[in-house]
Structure formats: structure tokens, C-alpha cells
């Protein structure tokens, strides 16, 4: 049987996949699998890594995703963070951007977790690194009005964190962007920062993708100027699934496309899967994989996840 890693390698090489790979973000799910609170296990890189690996093994996922959520980066920007309902939330505005963010606090733990996860999983599963994109981060930290204008202020931090993340040697790096990028025209500030991040990832020989959600009726003008190697589409701003024409448009660019599946709604997931399978077949099995519509929460239906894995494993050209 082809391993998840082999499948994802086919995606990265641009060759036909025996079936689409399934690589969802499962941090919330991992907490449930381990029966522990996220606040507890995210203090210990080894426990965190073990839980992610255990979750991937339990559901027989094709890859592991090690993520740096928005609060980790916001915290490095000087925002205070509090835990509410076992989720970290930002509790105040940014103060002083940390000079060596990768060396301290929760971010250091998260990077070490990623290193361990990838080191252990590399032989059998795809290793995906995901982090909040700089444009969304700037908006969250500095507010809607100033976010874009102050993008340069967080650039050194984002560069350092991205480099540290690349040094954990993932197979791909995915930036998660929301409305801050998805609903604006892509201009020079966005292009400049993504140009640097793309160059940086290229130094580590890592393809770069963008997970885009909260987009409008159409994708933001100039998105292709960011020259991402691939895109992943989440929900649109009105909570709808990505339109077929948009998917078709993106599937022909770079390495291809990932489609997010809702992890708590089997019917909606099947609808998306159907769309995805059509695209997969239309592309002769090239340039396509499935992921989740966002990080799966601990409330996700486990049967749905099992069912999705089962369904995807049956897909053939």
C-alpha cells in the first residue's frame, strides 16, 4: 500500500497520485484523543508531538500538520494571551515585538514540537507546516485600519519564525490567510513580504502554499502575483464552500490545489469530496489533495473523520 508520504511526494513532484492524499489539521482533535487539555499538552513539546503522531496513526491520516496558530505569533508580537475554554485568545494589543521569538515561550515549544513530529513521521507521512500568514497577523495585531501599513514592523519577526519553522524540515509550508488578504487587492506590501518568505522557503527547498478563507465572491485580484506553489481553499466569507469555477481556476496553477473538507458535517464533506474527485480525475490524478476546512476542533465528530478517511482511501482514477 502506498504510504501517505509517497502520495504527497507525487503531489509535490507533479506526478499522478494513486488517490488524493488526506492531510487535515487536527490539533483540537489531538487534545481529545489524548484526553488532556490543550493548555496542558502545549507546554510540553514531546507530549504535544506524541499526541499529533498518535492522532495521525489512529485515523490513518496521510500526513501530519504541525501548526503555529495565530496566538503564538501574536504573543511574539507582544500581545498578552489568555486561555479560555481550553483555547488561547488574545487579551490585549501588541506592545513590543520580540527580537528572538523562536527562542522563547510557547513559540519555542511549538517549534520543538514540529521538529519532533517531522523527525518521527518523515518516513511514512507527509510533513506539513502551517502558520498564520503575515497579512492576517498584522491585521489581528494592529487592527483593520493599520494592519497593512504596519506590515513592515512584523516582517523581521515573521521572517525569523518562518526560517525557524523551515529548519524543522517540513515537506511544505502553508500560510493561513483570512479576510485581511482575501478581500483586498494584492498590492506591493503583500507581494514584498511574500516574496521574502518564498525566497526563504526556497532556500530550504520547501514549496509554499496558501490556505485562503473568508474570500468574497471571487478571489482577491492579484493573488497569482504572490506566486504560491499551491493553494488550499477554505470557506468563503459567507460560510459557503468554494465555488467550482474558483477551484478549477486554481487547480491549473503551480503544483495544484488542496481542498478543505468540513470535519463535522459528513454530507457537506461528501459534497466537497465529489467536487474534488472530479477535479482530481480531470487533472489525471495530478496536483490535488484534501485537507480540513480549518483546524479540526475537539468537538469534531470522530466517526465523520473515520468515514472521510475511508471514503478517500477508496477513490481511484
Amino acid at each position: 500500500m502506498t504510504s501517505g508520504r509517497e502520495l504527497f511526494s507525487c503531489f509535490l513532484r507533479g506526478t499522478a497520485l494513486e488517490r488524493p492524499a488526506f492531510v487535515p489539521l487536527v490539533r483540537g482533535l489531538a487534545a481529545r484523543v489524548g484526553g488532556v487539555k490543550a493548555e496542558a499538552f502545549t507546554q510540553d513539546p514531546t507530549a504535544w508531538a506524541n499526541l499529533l503522531i498518535k492522532t495521525a496513526e489512529l485515523f490513518n491520516l496521510d500526513g501530519v500538520v504541525a501548526g503555529l496558530d495565530f496566538t503564538l505569533l501574536a504573543e511574539a508580537c507582544g500581545c498578552p494571551v489568555q486561555w479560555q475554554d481550553d483555547r488561547p485568545v488574545i487579551a490585549g494589543p501588541a506592545s513590543l515585538v520580540c527580537q528572538e521569538p523562536e527562542q522563547a515561550g510557547r513559540l519555542k515549544v511549538a517549534l520543538e514540537k514540529a521538529r519532533q513530529v517531522f523527525e518521527i513521521s518523515r518516513s511514512s507521512r507527509a510533513c506539513v507546516a502551517a502558520l498564520t500568514g503575515p497579512v492576517s497577523l498584522a491585521r489581528e495585531v494592529f487592527g483593520q485600519q493599520e494592519g497593512l501599513a504596519r506590515l513592515g514592523e512584523i516582517k523581521p519577526l515573521v521572517v525569523r519564525v518562518t526560517e525557524a519553522f523551515c529548519a524543522t524540515r517540513p515537506d511544505v509550508l502553508i500560510f493561513l490567510e483570512g479576510s485581511a488578504l482575501a478581500q483586498e487587492e494584492i498590492g506591493m506590501p503583500q507581494r514584498k513580504i511574500y516574496n521574502t518568505l518564498r525566497n526563504l522557503a526556497a532556500h530550504y527547498d520547501i514549496p509554499v502554499g496558501m490556505f485562503l478563507r473568508n474570500y468574497g465572491d471571487d478571489l482577491p485580484p492579484g493573488l497569482e502575483k504572490l506566486k504560491m506553489d499551491f493553494h488550499v481553499l477554505g470557506l468563503s466569507q459567507d460560510g459557503g464552500l468554494p465555488p467550482r469555477k474558483t477551484l478549477e481556476r486554481l487547480s491549473g496553477q503551480g503544483l495544484g490545489l488542496g481542498i478543505g473538507l468540513p470535519m463535522d458535517d459528513l454530507e457537506a464533506a461528501k459534497e466537497m469530496m465529489g467536487l474534488g474527485i472530479d477535479l482530481y480525475r480531470a487533472q489525471s490524478g495530478r496536483g490535488f489533495f484534501f485537507t480540513s476546512l480549518g483546524p479540526a476542533t475537539r468537538e469534531a465528530n470522530l466517526d465523520t473523520v473515520h468515514q472521510l478517511v475511508k471514503e478517500i482511501s477508496r477513490v481511484r482514477l
Binding site: P156, E163, R169, N199, L200, H203, Y204
Partner: protein, 718 residues
């Protein structure tokens, strides 16, 4: 001749040079990936395969040899990621490596730092004091056992080191080069206690194997350095070998040595790979010089991180006169001498507030990550490459043949914030000064290595190599007053080109003191066996070793060198022996005459001291097997005027002697014909480098595809 792939890893770029048959070699560069050198290594090989229009499998499957000059060992020393080692030495001498020798605390330090005696720190030892144990034993200087070694003592020492976490053992006993029996006994005991088939087996390194020469400090340190980098290198090279094999390569990986030869990985001592890249480049200069008929060459290689300087004098490479330093450690390896200073395209410009806001360039380099600001990898420090870009010398869309786009705005921003604003000058003036400072540093360093070592630079040809060599040659060459500067077509990857020219070779050395001229009796030694038996012993070792590499004795050539000195003197002088063996006093006399000649050339004839007699102290037998390399065939010259097709769109470039930016003609190096001449100012763009031809300089593309530069006007004093 089949396909060969030659690789040289530098601090910023990894260089590749492939040859196939008699066709033109193919060159490429890839950013050095310090986090895992194999990534940049395999990227470059993929690029070569694409260049030949083949798949990786086809390309590597058809490759006869991959030759590699690596910095893995150097990195291990810099990062200090070697294993925890235990040292077993003669009781009473446990502190020898910590006391050091002479001014060894200054070895490998920068000249400024070494002057600050109040703050200088000794290098942190590779083996801590608590990991050194002594065993009772003693050989005398003739190799006769004076105090026997007891197995119980060895076991006790072993247990102590293992309990403290030793992951390997270094065994360095006094006079072991004269008689290694005790060191071998220690090894035997270790192997008995920790056999290779156990997971806990521990590697053992004997000084009598690694460095069988007199001088305990350098012998101990050479063995320790070798042991320290051995494991790291073995792991990385095994991984790389596996990647090559997975890619289809079916032959052994060859490693270039700092002695000017190469061997299979499996037959290479780690310590011999240090600084092999610059040595390979120097060997390339020797080879290219033979094509030109040049006997005296100043070799320079300006890369991204360092500026290497070597000398070919009288058609020969020079080994270190004194003691090669690896990182911070004095060793006694018979390495070829190449000096490096921290000056390259990635050297960082900074304002030294402690010296009245003087502008300094280097020695720190931005390396490949983040690299110069214009690489747009997040770097914010201004570098020499940034200055070259701002001055209009580099084409931002044709850097590395267009593989890397440069961002001039980032260069200006970096120079403005870190240099121009602190100095109160504009960005262009700051860029000009950065360039002038780095050129002056390089020019002065070359002058020191050549003129201050007794050579007249005007009798030499300057080879300007490295990715930035052609860009800065007109800047540093005037410091030497050489008549001719040669920038080879291979210069951007000259270390890799040099690797393609080295032979299978290793130097076998052994200390053995013998007086061959007795002044009081005015006669030469009658003991011929003593000389011949050492040479025969070394020959046997070399032949057995090369046989294991698959070469027959008929293919092996030998060269004998001797360390000699006058009795009662300290300094040694190395000579090439006119005889491989001696059979009568005349042979000894020929050796002594040759020594006297060499000594006189170095110290003047008045300094000779035959009254002390003449000693041979050490034997160096170089065993080599000639390898084929691409012979350059001179092309017919086509006339002075460059073809119209070679002219590219002109652009603004800054020429201090012309008062500022001027519209400057740009040429395509590849489209120039042999014999074409260009008068500066002009810019000539090759895929991997840019020639900056300053006003007053003349360029000719010669029949070997090199650019030959000559200063025809007044030297510019930037």
C-alpha cells in the same frame, strides 16, 4: 573520459563543474544549505542533469566520478557538535594539550583580537580536562620500552572515561611514532572490551596512525581534531552517498584532500578534508597555469564569504612552512598552504564607532542565509554585493544567470540605515566606500602573502577567481602591480574546476631523525639502510592502500619530500628529494646540496650552518595515480572587435575616476569571440559572474576562454 561531477562547498554558494569527454565543461552554482549540505548538493546535481538534458537517473548513472571538497569537518568544529571524547595519554602528560605550545592561544584568532591580551581567551578544548586520563608507560625516543604498559591500568582508565560518557577514545602516548606498540595495545584492549558487534562499541584513534610524527602537542591535537570531526563527517557522508546511490550513481564518492589529492571517502582521514576547497582551487590554478606556461601564479578566489590566496612558485605548490591551523588548533598535516581572509560578496559593511566611525567590511559574512539584503531572504545588513548592485555593476535580473532576482531597493535601504546615515553621506558614496575598503583589504592581504614572503609580485600572473573575482579584480590588482590578470572562464566555480584536476593521491609521512652529513668528519652518512627502510615502509603502506582502491603498483607514482635542518637549529626546511633511495655518499650529497640551495633561497646563503651537520627529520612520501581531466584546447583568435550580438543594453554604472554614474556598455561574455578586446569602462556579464572593467583597464578574451585584464592607463585609487 567519462562524465565527472566536481563539487566545492563554500560559505555562500556550492559550486559545480561537470565534464564529459572532450566537450566543454558545464558549470552551475547553488546556495549553500548549511542546515543540511546535501540539499544544496543534490539541487546542484539536478541543475547539471537539466543542463545536459537528462533525468537524474540517467545523469548520475552515467557519471564516472563525483569529487567533493567538503566543509563538513569545518562546520563540525565551528558548531562544536562532535562527540564527547576521552583521551588516554602517558601518565604525567595529561595537561599537555591544555598547556599548548608557544603562542598557541592565538592560533586561528583574528589579528585584532589577538592584540587584546587582557581579554583574549584560549579556545575551549575539544576534550575537557576531566576526560583525560594517564596510563603508566614509557617509550624512549628510539622507540625502546622503558616502562611497560599494564592491561589493568588501561582497563581502569577506560572505565573512568566510559563512566563519564566517552563516545570514543583518542590514544596519544609519548614517542608512539617511534614505536606504536603501546598505543596498539590500548586499542586492542578497547576492542576486546567493546567489540564492534556490540551497540556500545566505541571508535579508537591512535596518534601513531593519524599522525606518526614528532612533536607531541601537534600530534595529539591532530589526532583529537581528526577524532572529533570523524563521526559527524562519517554520518553526513554516508547519508550523501546513499542519496547519490538512490539517484543512480554507482561509483564511490571521492573526497578532495588539503594535500592536493583525492581519495575515496572510505580511505580518507577526516582531518585531511579541512580547507580542501581552496586547495583544489589552487591546484586548478597550477593546472591552468601549465596550459599558459606560467610558472609563477598568485591565486585568489573571492567568493561570498572568504577571499582565498595561494601561490604557485616555480610551477610548484607550497606546503605550510610552519604549522597548519585548523579552527583554533595547531596540527601537523602536510597540507598545501592557502590563506583565507573574511572578505567576499557577502561580507558585511559596518561602522566601527570605537574607531571614530570608520567604515569596516567583514570579516563577518551574511553567508547564504540571510545573505546580502538584495537576496531578499530577510537580511538587513549591507554587504559588498549590495554595494556592487547599487553602483550599477550587477544586473538585478541576470544574477546567477537569472536564477536569483536581486532587489536593489533593499540594498539601498540596508546601506542607508547601517552605513550612509551613521556616516552622514549618501547611499552611492557609502557603496563606493564599501567597495574601496574591501578591495583595499584584499589587495593588502595578497601583498602580504606574496611580497612579504620574499616573492616579487611583478614576476607573477594574478588569477582572479571566485564568483566575485571578476567583479573586483580591477580593484585589488593594482596593489600588486602585476602585469596580467587572468579571469578563467571557470573562475566562478574554480574550486570545483580544481577538483576536476587533482590526482588520486595521499601523503604518507613518518618522523625519523638521521644525520646524513657530519661536519666534524666532513663526510656523509654510510647508513643507507636507515634511509631506504623508512622509504620502503612508507611505499608498502601507500601501495597496499592504493591497491585497496583498485590500482595496480604499475599505475602508482611516488614523490619523496624531506623535512631537513642543520643540527642545533629549530626550523625545518622541506625539499623534494632528488633520490627515492640512496646507495652511496653521492646520493646523500645530492640531497644535502639541494637542501643547502633551498635553505639559502629562504634565509640567504650567509645563514647556512653546515657546522651543525645536516639532519633529515621527517619523510613525506606522496603516492599518486594520474587521473584524466579535461584538457583545454586553445581556440583560434577572431579579431579585436566584439561582435554586435555580444553587445547588450547599456546601463548606468558608477566610475569614481569619471566623476559618477555614466552610461556604460554591457557585453555578453559567452558571445564574445577569442581575441575580442574591450576597453574600460565596461561591464561584461557571464552567467555566473560579472566583469567590472574599470576605466584604464583593457580586456581580451583569450583562446582558452579566459578574460585577460591589463592596466593600460593610470591606476585608479578609488
Amino acid at each position: 573520459m567519462g562524465m565527472t561531477v566536481n563539487i566545492d562547498i563554500g560559505g555562500t554558494f556550492t559550486d559545480f563543474y561537470a565534464t564529459e569527454g572532450e566537450g566543454k565543461g558545464l558549470i552551475t552554482k547553488s546556495p549553500t544549505t548549511h542546515y543540511d549540505l546535501s540539499v544544496g548538493f543534490m539541487k546542484g546535481i539536478k541543475s547539471l542533469a537539466r543542463g545536459y538534458g537528462r533525468s537524474m537517473d540517467e545523469f548520475l548513472g552515467g557519471t564516472d566520478a563525483v569529487r567533493y571538497s567538503t566543509t563538513l569537518g569545518t562546520n563540525a568544529l565551528i558548531e562544536r557538535n562532535g562527540p564527547k571524547l576521552g583521551l588516554i595519554t602517558t601518565a604525567g602528560h595529561e595537561d599537555a594539550i591544555f598547556l599548548g605550545r608557544g603562542r598557541s592561544w592565538a592560533d586561528g584568532g583574528d589579528s585584532q583580537g589577538n592584540k587584546d591580551l587582557a581579554r583574549i581567551n584560549k579556545a575551549v578544548p575539544l576534550i575537557s580536562r576531566n576526560m583525560v586520563v594517564g596510563v603508566r608507560e614509557r617509550m624512549d625516543s628510539f622507540g625502546n620500552p622503558v616502562c611497560p604498559l599494564q592491561r589493568e591500568d588501561i582497563l581502569e582508565a577506560l572505565q573512568e572515561l566510559v563512566d563519564k560518557g566517552a563516545m570514543g577514545f583518542v590514544v596519544c602516548l609519548l614517542w608512539s611514532f617511534a614505536n606504536p606498540a603501546h598505543e596498539r595495545m590500548v586499542k586492542q584492549v578497547i576492542e576486546d572490551e567493546y567489540p564492534e558487534d556490540y551497540l556500545g562499541s566505541l571508535p579508537v584513534f591512535l596518534s601513531s596512525d593519524v599522525s606518526p610524527k614528532s612533536g607531541e602537542y601537534t600530534r595529539f591535537i591532530t589526532t583529537i581534531v581528526n577524532a572529533y570531526i570523524h563521526g559527524v563527517m562519517a554520518d553526513e557522508l554516508t547519508k550523501l552517498g546513499n542519496e547519490l546511490r538512490d539517484g543512480g550513481y554507482q561509483r564511490p564518492l571521492m573526497l578532495v584532500h588539503n594535500t592536493g589529492g583525492m581519495k575515496k571517502v572510505s580511505r580518507t582521514r577526516a582531518v585531511l578534508t579541512h580547507n580542501a576547497g581552496p586547495v583544489a582551487g589552487l591546484h586548478g590554478a597550477l593546472t591552468l597555469g601549465r596550459h599558459y606556461g606560467h610558472q609563477n601564479i598568485i591565486f585568489t578566489d573571492m567568493g561570498g564569504t572568504s577571499f582565498d590566496i595561494g601561490v604557485v612558485s616555480g610551477g610548484r605548490l607550497q606546503t605550510y612552512d610552519f604549522i597548519p591551523v585548523i579552527d583554533r588548533w595547531r596540527t601537523n598535516i602536510p597540507a598545501i598552504e592557502v590563506k583565507s581572509i573574511g572578505a567576499g560578496g557577502g561580507s558585511i559593511a559596518w561602522v566601527n564607532e570605537l574607531l571614530g566611525n570608520s567604515l569596516e567590511v567583514g570579516p563577518q559574512s551574511a553567508g547564504s542565509m540571510p545573505g546580502p539584503a538584495c537576496y531578499d531572504l530577510g537580511g538587513a545588513e549591507p554587504t559588498v554585493t549590495d554595494a556592487d548592485l547599487v553602483l550599477g555593476y550587477l544586473n538585478p535580473e541576470n544574477y546567477l544567470g537569472g536564477e536569483m532576482l536581486l532587489d536593489e531597493d533593499l540594498s539601498k535601504e540596508a546601506i542607508k540605515s547601517r552605513v550612509a546615515d551613521p556616516l552622514g553621506i549618501d547611499v552611492v558614496e557609502a557603496a563606493r566606500r564599501i567597495r574601496a575598503v574591501v578591495d583595499a583589504r584584499m589587495g593588502q592581504a595578497v601583498f602580504n602573502e606574496v611580497a612579504l614572503k620574499g616573492h616579487d609580485p611583478r614576476e607573477f600572473v594574478l588569477f582572479a577567481c571566485g564568483g566575485a573575482g571578476a567583479t573586483h579584480a580591477c580593484g585589488f590588482a593594482p596593489y600588486l602591480q602585476v602585469d596580467k590578470v587572468v579571469v578563467s572562464g571557470h573562475s566562478p566555480v574554480f574550486g570545483a574546476y580544481g577538483a576536476s584536476t587533482v590526482n588520486i593521491q595521499q601523503v604518507w609521512d613518518k618522523s625519523h631523525t638521521m644525520k646524513i652529513f657530519h661536519y666534524a668528519e666532513q663526510c656523509y652518512s654510510q647508513d643507507f639502510d636507515a634511509f631506504n627502510s623508512v622509504v620502503e615502509e612508507l611505499k608498502e603502506l601507500a601501495t597496499a592502500d592504493l591497491r585497496l582502491e583498485g590500482y595496480s603498483p604499475e599505475q602508482i607514482g611516488f614523490r619523496l619530500e624531506l623535512d631537513m635542518r642543520y643540527g642545533m637549529q629549530y626550523n625545518l626546511t622541506k625539499i623534494i628529494s632528488p633520490h627515492m633511495s640512496v646507495s652511496g655518499p653521492d646520493d646523500y650529497q645530492a640531497i644535502c646540496d639541494h637542501f643547502t640551495e633551498e635553505y639559502s633561497a629562504i634565509y640567504t646563503p650567509e645563514a647556512t650552518f653546515p657546522m651543525g651537520g645536516i639532519n633529515v627529520e621527517c619523510f613525506y612520501l606522496t603516492a599518486f595515480v594520474q587521473t584524466e581531466y579535461l584538457q583545454l584546447q586553445p581556440q583560434q583568435e577572431q579579431g579585436d572587435a566584439p561582435p554586435e550580438a555580444a553587445r547588450r543594453e547599456s546601463r548606468q554604472a558608477y566610475w569614481p575616476s569619471l566623476g559618477g554614474f555614466k552610461q556604460t556598455q554591457v557585453f555578453d561574455f559567452d558571445l564574445l569571440q577569442p581575441g575580442n578586446r574591450i576597453q574600460g569602462p565596461a561591464l561584461i556579464e557571464a552567467p555566473e559572474t560579472t566583469y567590472v572593467l574599470e576605466p584604464g583597464w583593457n580586456f581580451v578574451k583569450d583562446g582558452f576562454g579566459s578574460g585577460v585584464l591589463r592596466l593600460t592607463g593610470a591606476p585608479e585609487q578609488g
